[in-house]
C-alpha cells in the first residue's frame, strides 16, 4: 500500500515538474519571424510622415529591404536614431528599400504621436519613410517585441537579418560590432549575411489592442 501510494506521489511530482517545464516553454518570448521567411503584412497601408500612405511591398528595394520597428520615446531608440538614419540614408542610395515603423500606442506615451514623428524625421533628416502601424498588427506579424528592432530582407524578399543595430547603444565610439551595417553591406552586394541574428535590450513595443 505504501509503495503504491509513493508511486502515486511520484507521479504527482512528475506531473508538477512537467507542468512547470511546459509552462516555461509557453511563457517564452513571442516568436519573431524566422530567417528565410518572406515579408509579412506587405500589403498593409501605413501613413508616412509626409501624409502619404505606403505598403511595405511598395517600399521594397531592388537589392533588399530594411524594416526597423522604432519610435520617438524609447531611450534606446533615441540613442540609435542617428545611426539608423545614417545607415538608412546611405543604403537607400544603394538600392535598399528603407522604412522605419512606429507601432507604439501613443496613448501610452504621447511622445509617440504622429506629429512628433514628423518633427523627429525632419530633425534627423530621414530620407526614407517613417510610418505609423495604426493597429500594431504589422509588428505582431513580424513578431517584433521591442524598439529599435531591425528586419532585413534580401532582393528575393527573404529575411536574412534580424536584430539590433550594433553592440553599444549608449556610446557610438565604443561600438565594436556593427551588425546591421555589415548585413546591409552584404545584402546590397548580393552576398550572404554572416551574422543573421543578434539581440539587444530595448523598450517593449506598446501594442494597441488587437484589431482582429
Amino acid at each position: 500500500m505504501i509503495r503504491r501510494s509513493l508511486s502515486m506521489l511520484g507521479l504527482a511530482v512528475f506531473a508538477l515538474a512537467g507542468a512547470g517545464a511546459a509552462h516555461a516553454e509557453d511563457a517564452a518570448a513571442p516568436t519573431a519571424l524566422a530567417i528565410g521567411s518572406p515579408m509579412p503584412s506587405a500589403d498593409v497601408k501605413m501613413k508616412n510622415v509626409d501624409g502619404k500612405e505606403f505598403t511595405l511591398a511598395e517600399l521594397a528595394g531592388k537589392k533588399g529591404t530594411l524594416v526597423v520597428f522604432s519610435c520617438n520615446a524609447c531611450p534606446w531608440a533615441k540613442k540609435w536614431e542617428s545611426r539608423i538614419t545614417t545607415l538608412g540614408n546611405g543604403f537607400a542610395k544603394k538600392g535598399v528599400g528603407v522604412v522605419v515603423i512606429n507601432s507604439n500606442d501613443p496613448g501610452v506615451n504621447p511622445e509617440d504621436r504622429y506629429d512628433v514623428m514628423v518633427t523627429r524625421s525632419q530633425k534627423l533628416k530621414m530620407k526614407f519613410p517613417y510610418v505609423v502601424d495604426a493597429t500594431s498588427d504589422v509588428a505582431r506579424a513580424f513578431g517584433a517585441t521591442r524598439t529599435p528592432e531591425a528586419f532585413l530582407f534580401d532582393a528575393d524578399g527573404k529575411l536574412v537579418y534580424h536584430g539590433t543595430i550594433d553592440d553599444n547603444a549608449n556610446d557610438p565610439k565604443q561600438v565594436k560590432e556593427r551588425y546591421l551595417e555589415a548585413a546591409l553591406t552584404s545584402v546590397s552586394s548580393g552576398k550572404p549575411v554572416a551574422t543573421a541574428e543578434t539581440k539587444s535590450m530595448g523598450c517593449g513595443i506598446k501594442f494597441r489592442k488587437s484589431s482582429s
Binding site: 509513493l6 508511486s7 511530482v13 513571442p30 501610452v108 539590433t164
Partner: protein, 184 residues
C-alpha cells in the same frame, strides 16, 4: 496511505502559507537602500544561484520603462511577503550606467532595502546567458528553483496575482520534490 497524507499536508501547507500573516514591506522612511552595483551576466547568475533560497525571482527593469515602473511596487511586495518562505528577489536595472543616479533614487523611492544590480557588459551575452528565448524587451522576469534552474520566464508587465501564481508553481514543485526525497 503515507503518500496521499503527505500530498494533502503539502496542499494544506501551501494554502495556509498563502493565508498566513506575511512579512510587511518596510515603510520607505525606515529603509536604507544600497546603491545598485554593476553586474554582468555571470555575476547576476551567481546572485541567483547562491545557496539558501527555495526560489528566486529575477526581474530586469529600467527607470524609463513605464510597464517596469508600474509593476515594481508589486514585485517588491512579493519579495517581502515571500521572504520568510525562502524566496529571494534579484533586481537588475537595464539602464545605461549614465542613469545610475536615477536608478538609485527610484530604488530608494520604492523602499528597496536589499542589494540590487545595474547591468554591465554586452547586451547580447547578457540576454542569452539569462535565457536564449528572451528577446531583450523589458520588463523581463525569470523564476528559478532552489537549485538555480530556470523554471519560468515571461516578458512584459505582470500583476501581483500573476507573479504570485507563477512563483507558487515553482515553490509547489519544490515542495512536492522535497516530500518525495524525504520518503525515499
Amino acid at each position: 496511505m503515507a503518500g496521499p497524507v503527505a500530498a494533502a499536508a503539502l496542499a494544506v501547507t501551501l494554502v495556509m502559507g498563502s493565508c498566513q500573516k506575511r512579512e510587511p514591506a518596510p515603510s520607505r522612511a525606515q529603509v536604507r537602500t544600497p546603491a545598485a552595483q554593476p553586474a554582468d551576466a555571470p555575476a547576476v547568475l551567481a546572485a541567483v544561484q547562491a545557496p539558501g533560497a527555495k526560489a528566486t525571482v529575477l526581474n530586469v527593469w529600467a527607470t524609463w520603462c513605464e510597464p517596469c515602473r508600474e509593476e515594481f511596487p508589486d514585485l517588491v511586495r512579493l519579495g517581502h511577503e515571500y521572504s520568510n518562505r525562502g524566496v529571494r528577489l534579484v533586481l537588475v536595472s537595464g539602464d545605461f550606467d549614465t542613469e545610475k543616479a536615477a536608478v538609485d533614487k527610484f530604488l530608494a523611492d520604492q523602499g528597496v532595502d536589499f542589494a540590487t544590480y545595474i547591468k554591465s557588459g554586452d547586451d547580447m551575452k547578457f540576454i542569452n546567458s539569462l535565457n536564449p528565448k528572451w528577446s531583450g524587451a523589458l520588463p523581463a522576469t525569470f523564476v528559478y528553483d532552489g537549485q538555480g534552474r530556470l523554471r519560468d520566464f515571461w516578458e512584459g508587465k505582470a500583476s501581483y496575482e500573476k507573479m504570485e501564481e507563477r512563483l507558487l508553481r515553482v515553490l509547489q514543485a519544490r515542495g512536492a520534490a522535497d516530500s518525495t526525497e524525504a520518503r525515499t
